[in-house]
């Protein structure tokens, strides 16, 4: 983009043309990022997907109806019955406040969009913003060309699409934009040293804290980078301005968010920032004093400071160790600890281990999610090393840490995606640079201009000494370049003859012409494959709303809308105050769509409550009825996929019910349900399994469907086919038998057989005699 300063209007025109072109390219990138995420709206409808977004949608509905003060103080009693949940203090408000603001803005302009529409389309809009933020960030690191490439790559990277498709109304949709924007402002402050950008950086960090729990990544990465800069001798006043205000302002702002509160100064996740804060102040002080003291005085001063510093350090470390050692997880939260030690979750917290997003990824996950970028990342890393600047060292650190974290948890591939796009954008831009330069300076028509243009900062080198030897070497290298065709050799000989005549002083670093043309075409082909894969992934793999399922059969498209059917039945046929028990996966959807109180939901904050429900599902009917009755449950909801072959049903999740229940209630023992180490429901199943509530509620009357009770998911006939339910009544089964709802039978009025009290045999006759003369204690 740097034009030669020879003629005044030409560079101005080139600049103008360049900026208009890049503006239009950015606009197109934004439109593309928005439209590639609309596949699910086109294929299905404008509906909210999955499970978590339903909770966010319900919270946004509450916000738009009741206003922000009621939202902060909201105590939700429709979930985690009878415990309830403090919404104001346990929800990251960024997403809901953003969508609420957009809705309020549009409605005040008299554009009557419903809350659902705004929620569905928030993610694509913010992904366009994220692509623009990537452009800004990469432009700070390497230049505008790399910026445009990186933005184009981020607009379509499948990993980001999977979490920000239209309808996926989840925290990451907004948080990734906040992440990239915060990093951009940090790099901008680092490059310019301006306090204005430092303040903006703190405000962007505040937005990130509001939006996602992943903000701890920022507050650990930036201190690591500051430490790296100090250690490699790159300390400067710009680094101080970039780092110190962020820590102070950022921590204060982070403490304002109710979810974080005092965690911002008390949990181990934030200690790195304070430690580096102290270190950077020490370094700044040393730097300042060094300039104003003589060397001997400086050494005396340093000795004094070091001795005082050691004493203070011991005190602080003692306090820290006491604070940290007093908590069993050393101050880290369970999720953060499972990142640092991947085996931690499976040993101690089975709930975290059971979520499929928390499994470690395999290599197909990498190829699926970042595709071609996986090849380009190492090349980008090298391009960042030549030359190494503050900004490029930051990006290298970002990619290394995000690669490690993505290796631990599939869900964090999302944090790897922007880093991979930046690196690949840099690599592609450099590669394009090299190839187009090779072509430009070797095209026959243009070689006349090549000498003039060669002096203006392109890849030629000015050789001061020993020109003859150098040109000889260059001739040798030109000749040695692989030229299997005679034509190439002749062309090179032409260059060799022409070149010593024209530019004895300058030497061009170029590749052979044919090689560069072929390589350029191959890189464009690589980009084409990437685009094809991304569009395929967006259309086929990541656009499923999970609330509606489809399958293609020989007679067309079958749509399975059973979930919404069941929730609608619940909302129309039960009382408003009835409690519904189901496995925690369906809690958010039940509260949002059926508007009924649930016992456990996807927040999974109370392990004992979930274990209670899990125990109830694994116990025989009577015990389960007792547990559910004690929780005031009226209806039990079970998801069953055996008739249609839906693999994510409750029988497949049963092992987690047993494990989590068994973790809290020791009378549930997993080996009771296993035959040969496997959970089986066929004739080889254990009697405990055949008697448990989950089995009975899933397979009640299943034999009436095809006479043989063949379960399509487990691919076998079930063990116990004919049985009656003693404590539950079936009230609803959806069209494809996917959701089954049962009602608890009320307790009997009369109890047959012996009563509970053992001494009633003798005392019943005596008490009836003396009934009139003695007052009966009502509590006995």
């Amino acid at each position: 983009m740097a034009g030669p300063p020879e003629q005044a209007p030409a560079p101005g025109l080139r600049y103008a043309f360049g900026s208009v072109l890049s503006f239009f390219i950015l606009l197109l990138i934004g439109v593309f990022a928005f439209s590639i995420r609309l596949f699910s709206v086109i294929k299905y409808e404008s509906v909210i997907h999955e499970f978590d977004p339903y909770f966010n949608y319900r919270v946004t509905q509450f916000l738009t109806k009741n206003g922000i003060y009621d939202f902060w103080n909201w105590f939700d009693d429709r979930t985690w019955y009878p415990l309830g949940r403090v919404i104001g203090g346990t929800v990251y408000p960024g997403l809901t406040l953003t969508a609420g603001t957009i809705w309020w803005l549009l409605n005040s302009l008299n554009i009557p969009l419903s809350v659902e529409t705004v929620c569905v389309f928030t993610a694509p809009i913010f992904s366009a913003f994220a692509a623009w933020a990537t452009y800004l960030l990469t432009k700070e690191v390497k230049g505008a060309g790399a910026g445009l490439t990186a933005a184009a790559l981020l607009a379509m990277v499948p990993s980001y699409i999977s979490r920000s498709v239209a309808g996926s109304y989840d925290n990451e949709a907004v948080a990734i934009f906040a992440l990239i924007f915060t990093f951009y402002l940090y790099i901008k402050t680092l490059n310019t040293g301006s306090l204005f950008y430092a303040t903006l950086n703190a405000i962007a960090y505040f937005y990130m804290v509001c939006s996602w729990g992943g903000y701890t990544f920022i507050i650990n990465l930036i201190p690591m980078h500051a430490l790296l800069c100090i250690v490699t001798g790159r300390y400067s006043s710009r680094l101080y301005v970039a780092y110190a205000p962020l820590v102070v302002l950022g921590t204060l702002l982070a403490a304002l968010v109710p979810v974080v509160g005092f965690n911002a100064v008390m949990t181990s996740e934030h200690f790195a920032s304070f430690l580096v804060f102290i270190i950077i102040h020490v370094v700044a002080l040393v730097d300042y004093i060094k300039g104003s003291l003589s060397p001997k005085m400086f050494k005396v001063a340093v000795t004094l400071v070091v001795s005082v510093g050691l004493a203070v350090c011991f005190a602080v470390v003692a306090v820290l160790v006491a604070l940290v050692a007093s908590s069993p997880t050393m101050g880290w939260s369970g999720r953060s600890l499972s990142l640092l030690d991947p085996t931690y979750a499976s040993k101690y917290i089975p709930i975290i281990a059971s979520v499929s997003e928390h499994q470690p990824p395999t290599w197909p996950s990498y190829f699926m999610d970042i595709n071609v970028l996986a090849f380009l990342v190492p090349a980008g890393i090298i391009a960042c090393f030549l030359p190494l600047s503050d900004a490029s060292s930051f990006v290298v650190l970002y990619i290394v840490t995000s690669v490690y974290f993505s290796g631990v948890m599939v869900r964090l591939m999302l944090v790897l995606a922007p880093a991979a796009c930046i690196m690949s954008g840099i690599a592609l831009s450099e590669a394009f640079d090299v190839f187009t330069r090779s072509i430009k300076f070797q095209l026959p028509g243009l070689s006349g201009n090549s000498e003039v243009n060669a002096g203006d900062g392109s890849s030629s080198t000015v050789v001061a000494q020993n020109d003859a030897a150098k040109t000889d070497k260059r001739e040798d290298t030109l000749k040695d370049r692989p030229s299997r065709k005679n034509k190439k050799k002749e062309k090179e000989k032409e260059h060799v003859e022409k070149a010593p005549v024209k530019s004895k002083v300058k030497r061009l670093l170029v590749l052979p012409l044919e090689a560069s043309v072929v390589a350029l075409l191959l890189i464009v082909l690589l980009g084409a494959f990437y685009v094809v894969h991304c569009v395929w992934a967006a259309a086929e793999a990541y656009s499923a709303p999970s609330i509606v399922l489809t399958s293609h059969s020989h007679d067309g498209l079958h749509v399975f809308d059973d979930f919404r059917e069941a929730y609608a039945w619940l909302s129309h046929n039960t009382d408003v105050d009835d409690k519904v028990a189901s496995w925690w996966d369906y809690g958010y959807q039940t509260t949002a769509m059926a508007n009924r109180t649930v016992i456990v939901d996807n927040n999974t904050w109370n392990n004992t409550h979930i274990a209670t429900v899990g125990t109830a599902m694994s116990s025989p009917e009577k015990a389960a009825w007792e547990i559910f009755n004690s929780l005031d449950v009226k209806y039990v909801l079970v998801v069953f996929g055996g008739l249609v072959g839906y693999p994510s049903d409750d029988i497949n999740k049963f092992l987690w019910m047993v494990r989590i229940g068994g973790g809290v209630f020791p009378h549930i023992k997993e080996p009771d349900y296993l035959r040969d180490g496997q959970y089986r429901i066929d004739s080889q199943a254990t009697p405990t399994m055949l008697n448990c509530l989950m089995y009975k509620l899933s397979y009640y009357r299943f034999v009436e469907t095809d006479g043989k009770a063949f379960d399509r998911v487990r691919r076998t006939e079930i063990g116990k086919k004919y049985f009656k339910l003693t404590h539950f009544d079936e009230v609803f089964t959806t069209h494809h038998w996917m959701v089954r709802i049962y009602k608890l039978r009320p307790p009997k009025n009369r109890i047959r057989g012996k009563t509970k009290k053992p001494k009633s045999k003798g005392s019943s006759t005596t008490s009836s005699k003396r009934g009139g003369t003695r007052k009966k204690n009502p509590w006995h």
Binding site: T303, V306, W363, V396, T461, V510
Partner: protein, 140 residues
Amino acid sequence: MAPSSTAATAQTSSMDPIFHILKIVPYSFLTPPRLRLKLPSFSLPSPMTVFALILLTYFMVVSGIVYDVIVEPPGIGSTQDPVTGSVRPVVFLPGRVNGQYIIEGLSSGFMFVLGGVGIILMDLALEKNRAKTVKVFSIH
């Protein structure tokens, strides 16, 4: 954390407070032993070393090593040929995206790194300070 000077200049100007304390407490009346110790000097690794480490980490992570450590799949799968009864190896885990065998993961990680290194070699071929043979090798 505390930059202390080497033993040679320790006598006159040390920045280490513990050295000063030691000078007074036992060694004002005891003679210090003659040692030929040298403090280890701390120098930053060269960029190429750092890059090699990064590339190694990238290779390990992209091969799915964390999955291998936690789930412990077999190194390579095997099927039995129904006709002859011989056991044939199966390289790719069929049917799932979220599973792999160990060797499958390592070879795919190697392919990823190979692609990146190829582009790096192209760039290295342009550098003027390399020997002729290395450049030829890189272009080839």
